[in-house]
């Protein structure tokens, strides 16, 4: 993830370049819409309309964004340590076990806020445990973390099918899902929050786990830029030789980073399970773990970038649903394309426009006085 050090002003580095990458991703996506025979402009207006046009839409947008904040943070934390955790999907899936077990055990005894606490701990623990193994194998045995986390996604999928079909499914039920939780396993909606802005979220499952996601953003920011461990993580990520020089324990840092990353991914499970369905179903993650990669890349691995990037994908998910309503040709899968394009342009091709932009800015300003990367290290 290392970038050459071009002397670009902060707003270009963290604003303009991601924006240009995003614009290209959307231009290509627009081409696909054209290919399908619809108008990209109308699709765009439907998208905005569906995501922001009314209270329920906004509620759904933020509900989806909640998922992506968690998974985006998970990927970002690993990025800072130079690790590519593709396993967010599996970690979130396994994290669901923690939520489900907590709810199944306590929903009849505890009020929601107590169950919530147990579920947070459970989801974080299960997600972390699932990430610990690839982390450990990378640190101690040199197994490539990209490959192991991919493998663990599939293993997680099998484990969860097994758990839902053979273990957690109530007797006599056919559907591979847990029983529906009672009130103690149900997170309150944030309708009151939205009503402050005069919005009615209607049936949207926008719930308190959104607040937890925001808290996690703050905590991750603190972790990365305000703690000793975050400092060590970033040193490792930028320069493993400098980390060795400074006497940091590489293996320990890798393992702990993966545990934190996995815990964040695991907590994503709270939102759909406790916040929406009140039960755990098959495939409840629905790709959120992978969206996290796009979100982290676009958000430059910074919580302040991840929140808008997550909301953008929330918009795509919710607005996309709206589009497919109006334009049956364009289903939700359009989002998957855009997600891929964002990853391509903001990730794999991130350097493509940089030389031109750098040349442009160095010709604009004599010697860059604005070298200070505004907000870069915050």
């Amino acid at each position: 993830m290392s970038a050459p050090f071009g002397k670009l002003p902060g707003w270009v580095e963290y604003g303009l370049i991601p924006l240009i990458n995003l614009v290209f991703a959307f231009l290509v996506a627009g081409l696909v819409v054209l290919l399908v025979g619809e108008s990209p402009l109308r699709a765009a207006s439907l998208l905005i309309q569906g995501a922001f046009g009314y209270g329920e839409g906004i509620g759904f947008t933020l509900y989806y964004a909640t998922n992506f904040i968690f998974t985006g943070l998970a990927v970002a934390v690993a990025f800072h340590c130079g690790l590519f955790n593709i396993g967010g999907e599996g970690q979130a899936y396994i994290g669901g076990l923690g939520v489900a077990l907590a709810c199944l055990a306590f929903d009849g005894i505890f009020p929601w806020y107590l169950t919530f606490v147990v579920a947070i701990a459970g989801s974080a623990f299960f997600g972390a445990a699932w990430a610990f193994i690839p982390g450990y194998l990378q640190a101690k045995r040199g197994s490539h973390i990209v490959i192991t986390t991919i493998m663990f996604n599939f293993i997680a999928s099998s484990v969860m099918v097994f758990m839902l079909v053979d273990v957690l499914k109530p007797i006599g039920s056919m559907a591979p899902q847990t029983r529906t939780f009672t009130e103690g396993g149900e997170l309150p909606k944030l309708d009151w929050l939205m009503s402050i802005f005069g919005l009615d979220i209607g049936g949207a499952p926008f719930n308190v786990s959104f607040l937890l996601a925001l808290v996690c953003c703050v905590l991750v920011w603190l972790l990365i830029w305000r703690t000793k461990f975050g400092y060590e993580m970033r040193t490792m990520g930028h320069s493993p030789t400098a980390a060795r020089y400074a006497g940091m324990k590489e293996a320990r840092i890798i393992i702990i980073t993966m545990i934190i990353s996995g815990a964040l991914a695991g907590m994503m499970a709270l939102n759909p399970i406790m916040g929406d369905q009140q039960r755990m179903q098959l495939d409840f993650v629905t790709g959120a773990g992978f969206v996290g990669i796009a979100v982290a890349l676009m958000g430059r691995s910074h919580p302040a970038g991840i929140i808008p990037a997550a909301i953008l994908f929330g918009v795509l998910y919710q607005g996309g649903a709206e589009i497919s309503f109006e334009m049956p040709e364009i289903s939700r899968d359009m989002i998957t394309i855009i997600q891929g394009l964002v990853i391509l342009f903001a990730g794999a091709l991130e350097h493509m426009f940089r030389p031109a932009i750098t040349a442009f800015f160095s010709s604009m300003q004599g010697v860059g006085r604005q070298t200070r990367a505004a907000g870069a290290g915050e």
Partner: protein, 324 residues
Amino acid sequence: MDQAFEILLVTLEGTIRLSVPLILAALAGLFSERSGVFDIGLEGKMLAAAFGGGAAAAVFQSVYMGLGVAILVSLGLALVHGFASITQRGNQIVSGVAINFIALGATVILGQAWFRQGGRTPALTGDARFQAVELPFADALADIPFLGPIYTNLISGHFVLTYFAFAMVPFTWWVLHRTRFGLRLRAVGENPGAVDTAGISVTRMRYLAVICCGILCGIAGAYLSMAVAAGFVKGMTAGKGFIALAALIFAKWRPVNVMFACLLFGFLDALGILLQGQSLPLIGTVPVQFMQALPYVLTVILLAGFIGKAVPPKAGGVPYVKER
């Protein structure tokens, strides 16, 4: 006894059927990765090819058009990956992830727009689909005890692409070890500096490797939508690209090992289907999911260095920059 033999035959036949796309995709990955370009986008390329093949075969009612388009589609994505990882020196993993998503989304969107069958392409019949090939005397020999059924059911009666896939294994080995192209390909994945100083273009070699990868993934995709199935179905690769990747690692990037790894993983798959709901003596019911997860678990165990060591090509994943 007879019944057991029959079950065995059916399982082995299933093993072959299930392992073909794995073999093709894993060999595709082998070309790319032996040249130093990691490719986790096998799944996406295969999926896109399956769609392109299914669609073109349906439209043109021609299996050859289908195969050609499948290859072209996969090739296009392979070149995108090449451009990102060779020319732009971008992150190869990120590029692979991107391609998987683009393929996953685009196949459904375009499929729905063009055919309006819920993401399927029209069912292929007649000339638009690959037909099973009966080898000579398959009928005549069927009655010979033991060997007859093996010949008739196991060796004969597969698709052309099946024979092609198995032929590709020794061919790939031959290309890698007995041709100039193979020598240079292996060299560029181990020490691109050596290739460069020998006056060979590293970029050109890697692009060629990525092109080979694209072609083979295209054929793998065509097999899925035009041979085993009569048309494309949304998400029909279902992780096969990743199993192939696992097989490639499990095989330590060697062609013949690739075949055995794919047969093993195909066998586990076939066995899983066979054992579904069956109770085994001593063990009881084996959950299907266990069989499904086994390839991945085995690969992780291998990667952890507990059964041998999987050493990837030395220059893999690293863009080549001429040193000062």
